[in-house]
Symmetry: C2
Subunit: 495 residues, 2 copies
């Protein structure tokens, strides 16, 4: 389905205005600083909302569910998407989404470094490279700036990281441990690497073989590329946050489909699951003060100055009162998973670094997620204590090899922000997926959109006198909710 891919790429270029199609994203060394970087509030380009529709989507009272307009063939693979705004917790919908097909073009060879000047030019004209498919959700907090920018740029950073790997990933032999000399301080020159099916270039000096040499897989190079792309995205937000008036931070969940494999990268508390033949396969885990307790406590223990004399790295089951000094209280430190009693000392009266349980768990009494992009200016309320040193912008990447299994049209990858998962668990999501898909023909391309809409509607609930309520009369999610439903099987779905 190359035609569809090309169309998608064209749409991508049109939608972004700059930097798409394998060109590097706006970096300080680039010439794009004056271009619109996309920090202004908007909804995903693929929704193609008119101003009137945008106003309706922004209505906290109505909370109308949004999906791509005609529901047909809008997104690659007939991907389903739906979103709804929160019930008033923030002015705008702070979730953002992106779905693209991106061409990764091999970086041109530097002039004058090849035995003959012709080779490089020929390769450039042939646009050597490959495509990857990309879906991502960004759940913003404390403003939408970081989420908006990440939704417009993260895939370009991934593309940029992959450009150095075009030849290596297409060569079945193991990746070279070391690449030959590159006199320029610029990016890696893969055209200098000896490749089995390439243009016969020979490096200046052959890489010797070592007795102890770790084998590194192609897969782990893609994982490394995605990890570093998240880091570059975070760096770009840091650099441009003042000039672009970028506010807040965001969780990021991205799925990259490349050469038969899904790479699901998660930094934050969004979640991805695969539903295959009714079985649930978790494709991510959440990063919160509770799940990352030991990393955070370890950092605070080693760098107590980051706590600003306001916090203790120890965890206690509740606040301690000054009058309890000298009593024994349950605690745990960074080395423990269990609990023990300790005598309360003066230092223990400080606020615990990690405090609260479940959705109410907070780090430094401020933030409930511990990985993501942005938040460079976030401080503890009415203090000068920075939160960012404790946050990680690195995702955990899980890999799913599509070629290892037979997939039917009902097998899907579901990506959702926490607005979905807070009220609907994995099993319930799998139930809705199966229920909705069976009511449509397997070749009906709008069936995945219908699933996404149903997931959003069921998690939002219905507005009653006592607020948004689920079918069981429990409170629905008052948060922004965004969902991708990506089919894994069925004829003609992949390129």
């Amino acid at each position: 389905m190359l035609l569809r891919v090309r169309a998608a790429v064209a749409q991508l270029v049109a939608g972004l205005g700059a930097g798409a199609g394998g060109q590097p994203p706006a970096e300080p060394r680039g010439g794009e600083r004056g271009s619109p970087a996309g920090a202004a509030f908007c909804r995903p380009a693929f929704l193609q909302l008119t101003p009137e529709e945008l106003r309706r989507a922004d209505d906290h009272a109505g909370r109308a569910v949004q999906s791509p307009r005609d529901g047909r063939r809008r997104l690659p693979w007939s991907t389903g998407y739906a979103e709804v705004i929160n019930a008033g917790k923030s002015q705008h919908n702070e979730d953002q989404a992106c779905c693209e097909v991106v061409f990764v073009e091999r970086r041109p060879s530097p002039r004058g470094r090849l035995p003959s000047g012709e080779g490089g030019g020929e390769l450039d004209r042939g646009r050597k490279g490959f495509y990857f498919h990309y879906w991502a959700l960004f759940d913003g907090h404390a403003g939408s700036g970081a989420a908006v920018m990440a939704s417009k740029r993260l895939h370009l950073h991934i593309c940029e990281q992959l450009r150095d790997l075009v030849d290596i990933l297409q060569d079945p032999s193991p990746p070279p441990i070391c690449l030959p000399h590159d006199a320029r301080a610029g990016p890696v020159e893969l055209s200098q690497v000896p490749l089995a099916e390439d243009d016969g270039e020979v490096p200046n000096d052959a890489v010797p073989r070592f007795h102890l040499e770790k084998a590194v897989s192609h897969e782990s190079l893609v994982i490394g590329a995605i990890e570093n792309a998240f880091k570059h995205m975070d760096d770009q937000i840091e650099r441009e946050r003042v000039s672009q008036r970028l506010s807040g931070g965001c969780c990021a969940l991205a799925a990259v489909y490349l050469m038969g494999k899904f790479y699901v990268a998660n930094a934050g508390d969004s979640r991805a699951i695969i539903i295959r033949n009714g079985e649930i396969i978790p494709m991510s885990r959440e990063f919160t003060p509770e799940t990352e307790r030991q990393r955070l406590q370890f950092l605070a223990f080693l760098r107590p100055e980051l706590l600003g004399k306001e916090f203790t790295h120890l965890e206690f089951p509740r606040r301690i009162q000054p009058k309890e000094l000298g009593k024994k209280m349950l605690y745990r430190d960074q080395n423990m998973n269990g609990w023990a009693y300790k005598k309360i000392e003066e230092d223990d009266l400080k606020f615990p670094l990690i405090y609260g349980e479940g959705k109410k768990a907070r780090m430094m009494a401020t933030i409930g997620v511990t990985r993501g992009l942005g938040d460079h200016d976030l401080k503890v309320f009415s203090s000068n204590i920075h939160i960012k040193p404790f946050l990680s912008c690195f995702p955990e990447v899980r890999v799913y090899d599509l070629t290892q299994y037979e997939h039917c049209p009902d097998d899907v990858l579901v990506l959702g922000t926490d607005g979905l998962w807070d009220v609907t668990n994995d099993k319930e999501v799998a139930g809705v997926v199966m229920e909705v898909l069976t009511s449509y023909e397997p070749n009906d391309p709008c069936r995945y959109t219908m699933v996404a809409q149903e997931l959003v509607v069921r998690s939002r609930g219905v507005l009653k006198e006592r607020g948004w309520r689920l079918a069981n009369d429990k409170l629905g999610s008052g948060d922004d909710i965004s969902v991708f439903v990506i089919p894994l099987g069925g004829p003609g779905n992949y390129t």
Copy 2:
């Protein structure tokens, strides 16, 4: 089977000479500093080896397998045990083992703190407390001192930690978050805690209830007690290593059976699995430079002074040669699971903190395990760089609730040092277990010893011209091998 338990306790007291039966282990504040702390080389007390047998067990050429002598009812629950010395890698067998039934006696109430002076005395005379069963393996390195001492003391440290919890663990209501005032700087006085079925003591001031209060389970108190017991054991080795001439360090794997649950605590590269109805349930994971890479790199990144200008916290797939400066090489740092290329700089020529793969992976080119006890004086060869700051003495504790499943006499918990697992994988161990058990009557108490012996023999192999060989002619384990086979089911096995 209280009789057997009492007999075991008597044996324990006789075997140790000091400190057993709920008395605190030798601590600086105790009066036992002059007593034999057990750093001298020996074999496990329960083997009851004569001097002649000890000489035979120490023979690297014969490598005779050792088990408790008559193989009947020697160890609690008819536990099977077998061990064999290494093929010459160290003078002595540096593995150690311990199997005990320990009475945890409630700490006596402090005089003068009760409303009436009588209560405490009565309680003391009643010896209020509970028993726990205990099996542990210690795999020593660079000397046997740490392993020998840990094998004689760790269970007493666990006992000591549990003494404060006697009332709390026996009370079905949730553990109190905070215990009342204890004017003395000594241990927690649980007799001051209000207990449903206790002697009606009332604390001086009631603990208020807080809106945000984390529930802590009894189970997590036991986990915390075991974790802190490992820490106290390590501290004791540190304090007494000079006076007792304690050398080296050791991995520690301990199984504690308490109130229906197994707590399996592991610090190092020993391993525990449960085999239940043919299914394999891992009860531990290994802690090595590879599995703990990110923790170690993170510490080195935050505290580069610990690397002594000799090491880099980055990982490379092989050593870099000075002539490769300026080339691009695969690397990963503490945030990454994947690999990427970086330009080689001067600093990258230092030796990588983590280097090598599998059994050859080393931290600081020195040690292949990253958790355990001892090693306080370990340094990088011919340098002043200490290894200990990177090692953790804290175990990971996994819990298995025996009451949640029906167990048959063929269900077992297997503990083994790496000498076993290096050549025999989980599945092969499960195969041997099933094969041997079926050839004995279910009520034959020596069947678990037969399993342990067979596991050791198969991993050691048979001495041929080209060394110790397995049945498939591959090299057998040249390491010390120690195995416990603990039955989980069968009539009359538990007390």
